[in-house]
């Protein structure tokens, strides 16, 4: 069978994935750069192409609240947001995870206000990294489409039962026209399977209570359960990825290693920046430089053991953060990786670049300069400046 490649944006690709998933309920509020996604999906609803109950709401706080209610009732539920929208739903984001509701949310990454900015950085979802949601980051429209479908299986796995956020970069991916290969409807339907709610409120023969008061005598035990569930989800992410390969031919794991195994210097990055970095790796490899890339897909749970294995042979690593953790010792990705590396017998030199805030471009010249910096670090055997801001005017 010949491949059917369609040209469309990341937003349209995810809207199409949601159409194929055909959730029971979608509750969403439009926010740039996610707007086109919800708009496209609402067209599918208006045209009668899905069975979904589409709930229009007055805010993102209400969107996530409606999702929690619908998921507790026993439905397969999805939503989408960006930046300030995610910030507004924050209270209920935690409640969704704590109630163990397998909601899937598409997040189109955008900078948080103020000053107001509609372009890409990861400060929105990095702020939600401790909320108990599983986080999958996508490099391009194809990955955003594929991850959305896989997220349903991951969230609904009986040993997991946690919500999943699927990220794509605002404008860069959400509005850029990309080549996407769709999977046939029947294959998607079969892959995701029929939803099995665990404790549906609508099952009146088995009444349950969601969200009762939980004090010092049991709250801690429920948090411990949650920690275990998200830890277990890592194995499920791999299993679902393997199964997904059978219907798509595309490989998904915890992260992607690009010319990494024999590299001496490497970059670690999330999402679309990894695509730019691959181009630079190809160019430098053509000149004989031993450079590589680790593109992290799964940020929560953080697969630290596998990351150590993949990185510990390197001489120097640059960890790229598209968000700052103000007042912290580096960005969120840096602190995770540096902390993980302490478990390794051999710790590569490591440096953090905070870049691309508010949609500031990162291009091949920037990435080439990072590999050059790493070369200097290797020569000198030390890092002179640990946390750097790349591409900001002094």
């Amino acid at each position: 069978m010949s491949k059917k490649i369609t040209a469309l944006t990341g937003n349209e690709a995810v809207a199409y994935a949601i159409k194929q998933i055909n959730p029971d309920v979608m509750a969403a509020y439009p926010i740039t750069p996610q707007t086109a996604l919800v708009q496209k999906f609402s067209e599918y609803v208006a045209d009668g192409l899905v069975d979904t109950e589409f709930i229009t709401v007055e805010s993102e706080h209400s969107a996530m609240s409606a999702c929690v209610g619908a998921a507790a009732a026993g439905g397969r539920v999805m939503t989408a947001t960006s930046a300030n929208g995610l910030a507004l739903m924050f209270e209920i984001v935690y409640i969704a995870a704590s109630n163990r509701l397998p909601i899937v949310m598409s997040v189109v990454n955008r900078a948080l206000s103020a000053p107001i900015n509609i372009h890409c950085d990861h400060s929105d979802t990095m702020g939600a990294r401790d909320s108990g949601w599983i986080q999958l980051y996508s490099e391009n429209a194809q990955e955003a489409y594929d991850n959305t479908i896989q997220a349903i299986r991951i969230a609904e796995h009986m040993e997991v039962r946690l919500p999943v956020m699927v990220m794509q970069d605002g404008f860069i991916t959400s509005h850029g026209i990309d080549c996407v290969e769709f999977i046939d409807d029947e294959k998607v339907t079969k892959f995701i399977g029929k939803y099995q709610p665990r404790y549906p409120l609508l099952d009146v023969n088995h009444p349950v209570t969601y969200g009762p008061l939980d004090l010092y005598d049991y709250y801690f035990e429920h948090k411990r359960q949650q920690a275990e569930a998200i830890k277990k989800s890592q194995k499920v992410v791999v299993e679902v990825g393997n199964e997904f390969k059978q219907i798509s031919g595309r490989e998904y794991g915890l992260f992607e290693e690009y010319h990494l195994s024999d590299a001496e210097r490497a970059i670690v990055a999330l999402s679309s920046t990894a695509g730019t970095a691959k181009q630079v790796v190809d160019e430098l490899r053509a000149k004989g430089e031993k450079v590589g890339l680790l593109k992290l897909r799964l940020f929560r749970p953080f697969p630290y053991q596998e990351i150590i294995q993949a990185l510990s042979h390197l001489k120097a690593i640059a960890i790229l953060d598209r968000s700052d953790s103000f007042g912290g010792f580096g960005g969120p990705l840096f602190t995770e990786i540096r902390s993980a590396l302490l478990e390794s017998e051999k710790i590569p030199q490591n440096v953090n670049y905070i870049y691309g805030l508010g949609g500031r471009d990162i291009n091949q010249v920037d990435i080439t300069s990072i590999y050059a910096d790493l070369e200097n670090i290797v020569k000198k055997g030390k890092v002179e400046e640990r946390i750097k801001y790349l591409g900001v005017r002094e």
């Binding site: 349950v208 209570t209 009762p212 709250y219």
Partner: protein, 99 residues
């Protein structure tokens, strides 16, 4: 879930859900109490106003008469003492009973 032994994280329903209907009595809220209602039987007229008001169904009645107070569920809120028309209930500090 029983209060006789606090259960571990592997033994309880996930997400803090209550998956069994009508089990509130199994949760012994008596441990929350810092003041204890003590009824003076001589003053009490058995009007049952305290029984009506008690939010924890902790005033135990049989044959139209107050029999006892269920201290394993009474939270010590003091509503009964406030509402009693003849002031037959006194709220006594729990430390008086732990001497």
């Amino acid at each position: 879930m029983s209060n006789t032994k606090n259960l571990g994280w592997k033994e309880i329903p996930e997400g803090g859900l209550i998956i069994e209907a009508g089990n509130a009595a199994k949760y012994e809220t008596g441990s929350w109490r810092s003041v204890r209602p003590v009824r003076d039987e001589k003053k009490c007229t058995n009007c049952l106003i305290c029984w009506v008001y008690c939010p924890d169904s902790s005033i135990l009645v049989s044959d139209g008469k107050i029999k006892n107070i269920d201290y394993s569920h009474c939270k010590g809120c003091g509503i009964c003492a406030t509402e009693c028309p003849v002031k037959a209930i006194e709220m006594v500090d729990e430390k008086e009973f732990n001497k």
